[in-house]
Symmetry: D2
Subunit: 350 residues, 4 copies
């Protein structure tokens, strides 16, 4: 699928903050990527330890040890997987270390400092860099990513909403959206907490963000203004997001209108699949079959009684919602085949 | 909690179609109920077998064997747990056998034959009986149940919607509702199918009723007309319903308005709890702690940016959504303490 | 099932350390117990908060608030649910406060200080009290519990082993046992840790105690000396223990021998059920149907090729393996009906 | 990892009975395999349908449709994934159609017709072919596979036992083994049944084969005679096997002896990893991190009190226990790089 496998010269990449789930997923992708070599993975807490101590699936796949962040050396690409706020504070340092920066935190997703302040309730620590950033969702921003040296990762829930809604939004057909999003436990990261304690989290159906979820800002940035309500419910699942976007359209729509819009936008996308059949167990998007894959499965329906459109998007939050989109963006920025390193299709059953 | 325990004369009850999940749950409740004695439990397929062959939790709790339906004798109360359409066809026979009929199927939930036909796409088999039925949701229909000899069970998803929305609906504050409902696998009953096969159903996030769910009719019947969209998503859970009702209100509401409305309606309800705190893991309704209990946990929130109200209701679909409400209705109809046999609080952790 | 419901004089009970899972389960049982009144529940960290902040299933069931441990006043029964080692250090104080002490920690399970040191690798903090303690497993120690003022709780895995093996051990038929025990996440308690983090613990099949599990000491104490190997594997489950005890017998046994032994010992036990049928989904013990119940389900089989006997016992670790046995022991010690407060049968499906 | 990617001439492969889980997993592997092209996939029930109707993860990955079995044409390799007994009955036909046959059923795993009859309780339908078959477990039979035109697949539980025990067995150190095996729901295949119904199977801990599991025969065939007891317990998991082999050794062993034996046998194996650390969450084999990978993770421990050795092996039953080993065997038989198409490392978290 990629013609980069034969290049004698591989790009060097480093991961800053590589002991968490996003870092682990990046490692899984990059260690097998035909165009790059992983040079360093930092983790303050795990420096000196083999990668499999935090990422047991990678046992036997690499001789690398975690290193301390200050030992990082120059390389071609630097992925930043740091806690919220850290990347923005240290961005100038990392800018020196890599030719391409891909930041997977939320720090540089919003290009407007005022909007950032409104949603994150603090001043942006590095507003001078915001103009340089390309939002890393290829399906909606491929051209900007292609020329960029600084790419921001995407919010996982934002991605599910953006891909569910883009065809409708671009056509100006949205009056109001209520996005009811179901998420797994890996969204909250690798740090244990009272809310992630297995006896409490197991089979919970927890309305953890009833209103006001920050990812709404990323949707408005990419798709424009319409009334958008977001509720996020944590369910029994580790990986995965299902966005059920209930859309009140500006005009009455029929299924064939929706097919035309969605096919029109996604026909050539390598990682968007339309999943919208009349019957069968797998007729609509379900994150259960997407673990480890970079696909976004998109589907839709119409309630003839009320005119409501339902737009669905399922992704793996750690892949299309984080590491997968980040590698896809890197591929675009570096001129690799866009699918390089991203061809695992997911498992069934899982 | 009940003063019926000392009565020397217990009522006799029989269950028709007692091998399924609703039948099993009725048995669990009725075998320990202080005011009744279970006389017979029918199951064509399991006649002659001990109850624990289908209901392993009841091993050692009863010497009853399943009997054939045609061996049923007269008793005080007959619970019907038959497949859709059967109760309506055989209702005249069962009417002879019991002084009080409680039908847990969907056959007699809608009091209007036209509405029935619209949602179930067939003529009602026994329209002459519809006028006699009291819809068995005590919180909204207690008075009618009290005087009735024929009570209909409730739809589980309908119940979650009805209890989430009733205070707003009764106050005329609903313009539009989008009910996004999360359900467990026991909703589909005890019969195996391709969709219930464990490798497929495990961790599925399956939009099984994107639009047009029949339980909407029960909401309109109890709460009146407003635009109501329903989407049901099957998630990894066995028992449990969480209704996330996204409400566009007719006027701007504040949290204190909601507290007043919900407290006003539910203050004296023995099985409705308001769960709506600012912090904590258990601040909003979650079916995970309701397994086996008859509680409906109700909560709410407001999105200040958009005015949207979110009304939540969590129940155990087999209890408050089926057998629990049925026993509660029986208690009312027979003049027992309303909570008799229904005091199990649920488990935590579960 | 109990004749204590009508006594005008209820016993007062307090729980020390009531914010954890064992404390919560005790509360669930004692709040509905016909012979006692809960006087106080202590929790240093949660003093002043309502019980439902830690035990959401008990919302609306009690007006009690958690209190500080030093505010505890005299009462009839004190249940101790403290971290390992604490009960032994503070036992003299609690001895003053209650007429009957039931300690659910591991501190007083072993009656011999040397054995304690061997397994827990420290000197026992209160060896002078060991002679007073009755091990709280009614099925094997009912007589001693009846006359005791100081009862020790049981190890959950020990209980599953003891009940699986007792009939064989008492008959001197065991040469060697390999107990392969499957446990849920609630065994590790209510404190979050890296190992209980949902993304790590979910669907884990983790050999967390390959050898040397301490509960073996409780088996030797109750059943005598034979070679006993124990391995504990954590599986996807919250509550529940299944002990699969592989027994190499001292002589060749047939199924009818086993039936005779197990029926002989357990015939009159209110909480032991023999589950051993030839066919059917529920033919052998499974903790999945025991959540919240005090039953121990016991079954067995023989491998005709090798002579191996397999003895199985399934329990809910928080019930028969902790709070349930503790309340059963209290019932015995106080002269209540042994089943008082313990009649919930468990749920199916769950 | 493979040099076959550049060959202009790919081998053609067909799958007979490709709608089940093993067939789906073979498809996932073979569609991305650098040395082969999938020519046909048969399914009587699904003929004419696209592959994703049964294998939703493969949506968009192939234009193939299922075909009827009798339309199968000649090709280089034929994989048989048929129900028990069918392959043996039709083997002569398939022998004509492919140069290499890989049968994933149990029909040709035992090379001795008498042994087959003893375990499967029927005469072998094609005893004349047994001498031609190479048992497809590369780690124990690589040389025979290399020269073979007829390879049998492996039993998943047999594979976990064989790989856990081989180093001890080959050294003659086993006196007796009790293998306690934990398995997921996909082991039972893709056909729904009462035992796979989600409400019943979810969180079940079901002793489904207490004694006499047929896979023991494959262990004896590969490792020789010793007393072997097998118990299989179904737990909440879809993919995965953990074999906990409790070994009574013929002599006292120390950890360094085990390290020497296991390293000696598995040092150069591409798909066996020794997982045996003193601390850490991932210190022993766990199938939870092996989904989709072809690794067998092997570990061990010793109980110093009793001398028991515990040998562990975790695999994905659909991969190393079925399709993965089958493709690995094909790679060996055809002279491909042994790891071709099998490099996916598994996911964490999963």
């Amino acid at each position: 699928m990629t013609d980069t496998g034969n290049t004698t010269e591989r790009m060097t990449v480093s991961i800053v903050g590589g002991s968490g789930y996003t870092g682990g997923e990046l490692l899984r992708l990059l260690l097998d990527h035909p165009g790059v070599t992983v040079q360093a993975v930092t983790s303050r807490a795990n420096a000196g330890e083999p990668l499999h101590r935090k990422h047991p699936n990678l046992r036997g796949r690499s001789d690398l040890l975690f290193t301390a962040p200050d030992e990082l050396e120059k390389c071609d690409v630097v992925f930043l997987c740091m806690p919220h706020g850290r990347a923005a504070k240290e961005i100038d340092r990392y800018n020196e270390l890599g030719d391409l920066i891909v930041d997977l935190s939320a720090d540089f997703r919003l290009r407007d400092a005022e909007t950032y302040k409104q949603w994150y309730r603090e001043d942006h620590p590095a507003p001078h860099r915001l103009a340089d950033v390309a939002y890393g969702l290829p399906e909606l921003n491929r051209t900007n990513i292609a020329g960029s040296r600084f790419v921001s990762g995407v919010g996982c829930n934002a991605t599910a909403m953006n891909l569910a809604l883009a065809p409708l939004a671009k056509a100006g057909l949205i009056e109001r959206v209520i996005a009811d999003i179901k998420v797994g436990s890996s969204e909250a990261g690798a740090e244990p907490s009272a809310s992630s304690h297995h006896p409490e989290r197991s089979r919970a159906v927890r309305s953890y963000a009833l209103t006001g979820h920050r990812h709404a800002a990323e949707v408005h940035q990419m798709l424009g203004d319409f009334t958008l309500d977001v509720t996020v419910t944590a369910i029994e699942m580790v990986r995965g997001v299902l966005c059920t976007a209930h859309v009140i359209p500006t005009e009455t729509l029929a299924m064939k209108d929706l097919w035309k819009l969605y096919r029109g936008m996604y026909r050539a996308e390598p990682f968007v699949r339309l999943v919208c059949e009349r019957t069968g167990l797998f007729r609509l998007p379900d994150p259960a079959v997407l673990g480890g894959s970079n696909y976004a499965d998109v589907g839709f329906g119409i309630d003839d009684r009320t005119g409501r459109v339902v737009a669905l998007c399922a992704i793996d939050n750690l892949m299309k919602g984080a590491a997968g989109s980040a590698v896809q963006a890197m591929n675009i920025a570096l001129g690799f085949d866009e699918t390089a390193g991203l061809t695992f299709p997911g498992l069934h059953p899982a």
